[in-house]
Symmetry: D2
Subunit: 365 residues, 4 copies
């Protein structure tokens, strides 16, 4: 996931944007095919240090200015004037971000799917195993142990579906030019956008320079996934307290040890997932606050989105990866479960737990 | 909107839950029809002071305990034992909240639709009127004035659609009993739930006591609607600065005056909408943080949801109502628009603004 | 605490502001003493329904306009023109808020002090009682039980001190007039402010219409107090899990019961305090976001402060009151503590717990 | 500022902790002086790649474990057992964080002081220059232009002072051992802590493993500094709108340009500062949420603090650096100021602006 938001990737997608734009404009007759070829070749062959470009962009206040300077130095004077036609710096920045969010969602889903698979198996396997249910941190009545797993599954599956849908809908091409009107394109802006979106494998649509509702939707959906993972982590960490001991994270050599207590086995996977739950809501908050972008391009709000989104996906990825390991190797202790249930002395009636497990897993279908 | 979250409404839905449950359980043969009739009659005829019940609930830590005490005092001893069968206090609380969110969304949509209608009209009317576009708070290039309105429209329409969808999906019946297993219902819990959901006009599904992703989805979607309204408010307040003066809120007698400056006309509608944007993200944050609910019923997190959700819908409603008045009466000053455009000296090319207006409004269809 | 932020209190302080201002201006010779007397009398005798005034203020966009209208109707025409001289509506609103924050801090401190006293006693009493310490939710090494109480004490004492200091420093008079320059006061604005601050028992200083750092300081300090209370609540709720059972909230008749499980004793005090921890950070966030107030008086940000601050103090008060009861009646179970410690099998060495207890309590001095 | 939170610095302070601890323990007779010498020498001579250590720490769930492994490989077997005596991994991590916060505050203050100096000069210079004051984004009454600068100054000076005070108070040594009791130190823990704190130039005090109020205090104070900088940035960006044009950021070659509009001069310094205001509140929120740390060491909350604090100081530093350049080079346009004031037609009475400037600047003294 770090790679998705690395300077290298930013540079690669920036070049893909400029190359794709040149191709699309040539196809629409806005620039000559030979000019496009020269631009594409420059994009493919130019050697820019990603970290230096990032520093230049930070100074300039925008990525496009230093990028275009580098590219133009590789082009004949005539063709240099054809580069980036009809585009603006935010077009490049937002389109890069869209590509990154799309890629990030794919990566995240790999780990989420591992968890879902492991939980579905656990849920079915333990659907009818009675365990003491706990409400408000107090023993309540029995539950089917599998129902607990199925509820984690349902929350995560739901969060994942919603995020996937938001990314598909909103991580689309940004292409509007300086004021978002697609000016200076001889009326062919819509066609150029369609071609460029297709080349970059992004959804097409009108520009959204000042309309950030889609970004906010994605950000909050990531935060919900983090929360669903955190719910699972909190439960596992509670259930693996020494006095409870019903489940345990798998032992991973070199992880979860203590620098002084050899006997300890810390819930390090849960720690990572819970740590993410203290980061994600606040990161999403900043993006929600940025919705009030000024006029055709906001000052401050949208520039804060990219680092916050990168952090959101990074903490989500760390959480999902950690919990995938936890879910796949979860150790369940039937004896402890039986002992705790008996201690509660509330019988063994797990009601319709098994039916609910099926219903909850089925929602995923 | 205050009425939706008032103590009276809470009480009304609480009684509807208990009455509906009795009816559903009678239909499934779990209690006698005559018992159900007695319960329904008590729910319909009981006189409880909503504010007193709220105080009792705050003390008890849950609404259901004092409510049931009141109801049981109206029932024969035998029937008193049949009340609330298979349910738990969170079933009542969450189902009330679901009803309130459903009602709140309907109310909010009324004002959102007023705004959308007004903006669509403005967007079409001014689609080709050139105005100076501004990026980073600086004059940039011309835009079609209607494109600005259409972008507001698209953001708000999108936010509204997403919220409606989330409410429809997630504001569903909660019915799981003490540990969320539908125990003590002779295997008929699923059928009882289906009947009860239908009676209350809510979506049916497995219990979600400890799985709060749906609540978080709704909360963040409300915050996005607030942000979309705030974007519009920020733009209007910037455009109505004295030195810009391109649009103005309608004059409303008794509103927007100054206690000392008779000449002032303050953008009070925008003030309300912008004020909401400083409240909503933080309110949503708290709900995202609460996703890590402990085991079968969390301690602290879900209890914090109801007041935060009520506040979210209240600030959203205040914002939407204010901006509906603003949108419907928005004063546009063509002379000022032309003057500012000419001062920028960047020509009049508005690119494909008119095409984009159509595309943006069409997305709403 | 509700009373501090009730419409009645708002009205009372609004009238105190106008009366105090008239007196101060008369003392400085800006208005006649007889005019001041008439204004003071009107402020003391006028009958306004607080809820109606609140509704009028919401419509007008500011409290001062309807308030002044009511007051002027009670004054002779001449004196009506002397009312509110040199003041603006935000002067009234902010000064009311300052009075409310000052009062709220006093109330909150009453309960905080109850907790501190109870914790100090518990800490000393159990300073050398060995108990198993837990890190990352796993058994670690022994601690002196009193050290745990002393740490809660230190966090809360520290938070309380910081809040008290912030309120003393920042909850001061606002008096600047329409643009914050103290115009129209014949150069006597500083003197009028000093008199008015003294009359209202508030700190004096330059106006802070657009400078909201003080408000943000208070808000975040309240959130820290809420967090310190929540830390204590989380620990108590963990320690009172059935399988741990080392401490318990005191039983309070009618509180903490379950609507279905007679055997349950829920940690309802902790629930209230933990619930507050899901509200306060987000409420503080909104106020931090509002620091970027526009020019001489912001649009949206400061108007969002009053309801957020009221909610902050309300959830803090609910938390402190609940935890005062918990701390004063905390049930400690030495047998369970010994049993859990022995089960951990890590000896009984509590290191310098007793010394640390003294150091931590001493910091309170 | 990046250097303060870089892996290199983390490693350097980790080694300083272990070396300082060995020295302190030798001085107290807990280990032999020759053992301490060997440990100190190892800490000074060991070559560890900071990025590799960071990766190992991420895997292990704590920095200390891989660090100690590296160090022990350089020590004789006997001495290896003396390393890290009485300490735990969180002691290392929190002490590093304390050193970093202390250093970060120093760096931040350098830029804050540049701004304060520039603003004080501007405030005095323009104390009596009349300019139109604006409230709710509408022209109001005149202000002394210097009063605006003095208000920015007061907010920032106040925020800076509060942060400095919090860092001095709370960025102290963490030294408590596995359960925070200073066990295994033969009763000399307090003395060891005093020596170690002194060696690291940190405040001394009892351990705060589970008591995070100090961290929250620092985090919120940074957010307030960011807000004070953002207030200034918002005002400057509003005042430099083309239609207003009263002040401008200094032109910096290569900064603030547009990739398509050669005529534009974007407020890039303000953009950076405003962008920070969309990040900081949410980052602080997460730390406030983490106050409810579990028992003797929390699971998830405190692990989320370090990255959030680093981000807070980084966005604050970026903001302060940008605004230092803006403040030092701020271009004031007297003609535009006079023109806008005349257009408002509300006279030239700036009240007691000059007096207030003095009062506001004097508070800094």
């Amino acid at each position: 996931m770090s790679a998705v938001f690395a300077d290298e990737t930013t540079l690669r997608y920036a070049l893909a944007f400029e190359a794709g734009l040149a191709r699309a404009e040539a196809a629409e007759g806005l620039i000559k095919q030979s000019d496009a070829d020269e631009i594409v070749k420059a994009c493919e062959s130019i050697s820019i240090r990603p970290d230096e470009l990032a520093a230049e962009a930070a100074f300039a206040g925008t990525l496009a200015i230093p990028l275009l300077k580098h590219l133009r130095s590789k082009l004949s004077k005539d063709v240099a004037g054809k580069l980036h036609r009809g585009a603006t710096s935010q077009d490049v920045a937002d389109t890069i971000l869209a590509c990154q969010m799309r890629d990030a969602e794919v990566l995240l889903t790999l780990d989420v799917d591992r968890i879902l698979k492991a939980l579905a198996t656990l849920a079915v396997q333990h659907a009818s195993t009675p365990a003491i249910g706990r409400t408000l941190l107090q023993d309540a009545l029995p539950v089917g142990l599998g129902l607990r797993f199925a509820q984690w599954h349902a929350g995560l599956a739901d969060g994942g579906r919603r995020l996937a849908n938001d990314v598909r809908t909103y991580a689309g091409l940004q292409f509007g030019g300086a004021a978002g009107t697609r000016a200076n394109l001889e009326g062919k802006g819509t066609s150029v956008a369609a071609r460029l979106a297709s080349a970059l494998n992004l959804a097409d649509g009108p520009p959204w320079h000042g309309r950030r509702t889609g970004i906010a939707a994605i950000a909050t959906s990531v935060a919900i996934v983090v929360g669903a993972l955190g719910k699972m982590a909190r439960d596992i960490s509670l259930l693996s307290q020494n006095a409870v001991n019903e489940v345990r994270e798998p032992a991973v050599p070199g992880r979860g040890g203590s620098s002084v207590m050899a006997h300890k086995r810390n819930p390090t996977g849960c720690q990572i997932a819970l740590s993410a739950t203290y980061r994600a809501p606040g990161l999403a908050t900043g993006i929600l606050s940025g919705l009030v972008a000024e006029e055709e391009r906001g000052l401050g709000g949208w520039q804060a989105e990219a680092p916050a989104l990168a952090d959101l996906f990074l903490v989500a990825a760390g959480s999902a990866q950690a919990m995938a390991g936890v879910a796949e190797g979860l150790e369940v202790d039937p004896a402890a479960i039986a002992r705790n249930l008996n201690a509660a002395d509330v019988g063994h009636d797990i009601g319709e737990s098994a039916t609910l497990v099926k219903a909850l897993l089925g929602k995923q279908g």
